[in-house]
Amino acid sequence: MSTSIEHANKTVAASAARNPSGKGPRLGHGRFVHVWFLAPAVLALLAIGTYPTIFAVVTSFHQYNLTRVRDGFPFVGYANYVSVLGDSSFWNTLLTTLEFFLVVMPIEIVLGFVIASLLHREGLGFLRSVARVTLVVPLATTYAVVGLVGRLLFNQDFGVLTQAFRAIGLDIDWLGSVGGAFAAIAIMDVWQWTPFCALIFLAGLTMVPGEIEEAARLDRASGLKLFWHIQLPFLLPGLTSLLILRSADILKLFDMIFTMTRGGPGSATELISIYIQRIGFRVFDLGTASAQAILLLILTIVLSRLYIRFLYREASA
């Protein structure tokens, strides 16, 4: 992008030089041209990113209930933040979200790596190409649809997965019990996101220089050593971005769970985003919901910084 802008800049500057009658740079010419190139993106970002965020920050300091418009929207200082931090349901749902993350992430990483390693091997060219394409299918499926499909798959009477598990002797009340419902949403998440992990790892593995891998094999390095010393450094940048993306994603995971369990039974599958939606669009207490969202934003930023600090290493051949 920046190269093309520089190029455009030079072109316009050159044409200005060829035109001696020009009275200096005008808007849209010369040194302002980059403004026009950047304007659409910046305006879009301001409208759909920056403005709502600032609005949410402002709202979080006000009593802002859409169903109590007559009470006005008075400034309440930190009251919404104090109430959120003292709300046991907020912490419980955050804990459920953390549990969900700790359950699904390791499974997705391990399975993703296994799939990536299989696809990285030599041979079976056609099958590998087909497998790579099919990996994209779960990723391209809308979250809400994944939830609806999950509701059918785990239906107690005719669900395919319920019947399959029953056939191997596991008669689980999937959507009607606390553990079952949690496992069901975890399974659907693993189904949807393992391919993403696999593709990221595959990209990492293809970056490993063939000669280094070959040299290690000639030195009879074991599979584990090969992974640890040769492949892992190339996988770390991918792993870091994977963790950042998935952390943010799980913190805002809503559609799949809402359509599948609506956060129930009880609060077994109530992740933080479901709770915020309840406060924001059932109770319409947008002040409190905004405070919760801002706290989540801070949490996401802190987590991202931690991942980068402790995991990210530039791989060099």
Binding site: T67, G176, G264, P265, S267
Partner: protein, 449 residues
């Protein structure tokens, strides 16, 4: 008392209307009244339920007669309030408000809906045959009235009924349905449950959300003498009667299909339709789903009775929607909307509406021998609407927040994550926090529900 108030109000309005109206009944026609509004479009939200499918079938008749276009959008129930609140608070385009009985307080107090006397005072747009007394008083009071003022007319009307599979009951040696909850639990349930065969005596829709709070939790308070709130608006859930009801709900669990805690209406109706459960307490509106061979295998085995009685008598679940004019709409559209609402809830189309799958709130249509003979839900329905609790669920603006609390803790109770007593206490204290913030305890707000 509230019932009396609403009835008096309705009577007064009807009388005033009759006395003041210079338009004779025979001179008034919908087409003539609608002439000034020809070409107007009114916007309304509908649900994907039989009552709405029925009115959609009849809509061309209204549009042809009046020249008013009815623009409807079908929205899932769960999103309806969200959509309407956002629309009203941002001065959107809705002309008609679809008002669930538990939203009437919120919509009225926020000034989002217009009282009907604003229109009934104008005889040119009010049908002389608009007979407010012709609605079941319980429905007009519960669905459309707030603080003694009528805002909406009952449109999609439900009562909880006991739907049962008479063949399964007969096979188990019963020739009639249980008359009391106690009988259902002690006599019927053990004989009708066969876990090996996968058949169960009863099914209760309990999915988290309004289904848990309205259909599952509240259903077991009133018939047992309990209630959500006492006269001072403090929690009454820890009273003996309320706890009896909630413990009774727990006692039914062994006789229900596994996973019932996650069942919404669709799954619960399906359990009866497919022969998995022998009895179901469900809204009258699902009658057409159960009789339709495309959606139900139960066929002639289906029978309907009023909900069983508890220690405090028969107090079945009450629910439904009224249609009200949205105050944000321009004057002309408001008038057009008022004509539509009168037509949709009128005696004139009540029979067609019932035959198209709707459940009218008018009394007269259920006296029709043809309707009585054709629809077996009529008798128990009429019986249920004779006596009921208008505040089966409180209709004040705090209900959505309380419903969320019940949705969470009510299902935790059913799952055994907390005991009934603990759960009742937890809901009680959280509910009182909400009511405190609303200003019910410091005299800022009248104790209206």
């Amino acid at each position: 008392m509230k019932f009396l108030k609403a009835s008096c109000c309705a009577l007064a309005m009807a009388t005033a209307l009759a006395l003041s109206s210079p338009v004779k009944a025979e001179d008034w026609s919908l087409a003539k009244a609608a002439e000034p509004f020809k070409g107007e479009t009114i916007n309304v939200i509908f649900l994907d339920r039989p009552g709405y499918r029925a009115i959609i079938k009849l809509l061309p008749q209204f549009e042809k007669e009046t020249g008013i276009k009815v623009n409807y959008e079908i929205v899932p129930y769960e999103n309806t309030r969200e959509k309407e609140v956002l629309n009203f608070s941002s001065q959107g385009d809705l002309t008609v408000a679809l008002v669930d009985l538990v939203w009437v307080g919120e919509f009225a107090e926020n000034g989002w809906i217009v009282p009907v006397d604003h229109f009934t005072s104008d005889p040119s747009i009010t049908d002389p045959k608009l007979d407010l007394k012709g609605f079941f008083p319980l429905l007009l009071d519960a669905f459309g009235t707030w603080g003694g003022t009528v805002y909406g007319l009952p449109f999609d009307n439900y009562s909880g009924l006991l739907f049962y599979n008479k063949c399964m009951l007969k096979d188990a040696g019963f020739d009639k349905p249980p008359a009391t909850w106690d009988e259902l639990l002690k006599t019927y349930a053990p004989k009708l449950t066969n876990k090996e065969k996968g058949t169960y005596a009863y099914v209760l829709q309990s999915r988290r959300g309004e289904t848990q709070s309205a259909d599952s939790f509240m259903r077991f308070l009133w018939p047992f003498g309990g209630s959500l709130l006492n006269k001072e608006f403090k929690s009454n859930l820890s009273s003996k009667e309320s706890l009896d009801g909630l413990n009774f709900r727990q006692a039914l669990a062994p006789y229900m299909p596994p996973g019932y805690v996650s069942f919404d209406h669709a799954e619960a109706v399906n359990a009866l339709a497919q022969g998995q459960a022998a009895m179901l307490t469900e809204w009258s509106a699902f009658y057409s789903t159960l009789t339709d061979p495309k959606t139900s295998k139960i066929g002639d085995c289906l029978a309907v009775a009023p909900e069983p009685a508890g220690a405090a008598g028969r107090l079945p679940a009450l629910g439904g929607f009224s249609l009200a004019v949205a105050s944000q709409a321009p004057e002309e559209q408001q008038k057009a909307a008022w004509l539509f609402i009168q037509w949709a809830t009128s005696d004139a189309i009540a029979k067609d509406y019932v035959e198209a799958g709707g459940v009218s709130g008018r009394t007269k249509v259920y006296e029709d021998p043809e309707i009585k003979a054709k629809y077996q839900f009529v008798e128990p329905l009429v019986q249920s609407w004779q006596k009921g609790v208008a505040v089966f669920r409180p209709r004040f603006p705090a209900w959505p927040a309380i419903s969320e609390i019940i949705g969470e803790w009510g299902s935790k109770m059913q799952l055994g994550e907390v005991s009934v007593e603990q759960g009742a206490k937890e809901i009680g204290s959280r509910m009182e926090d909400v009511l405190q913030k609303e200003g019910y305890y410091d005299g800022k707000k009248k104790l209206l529900q």
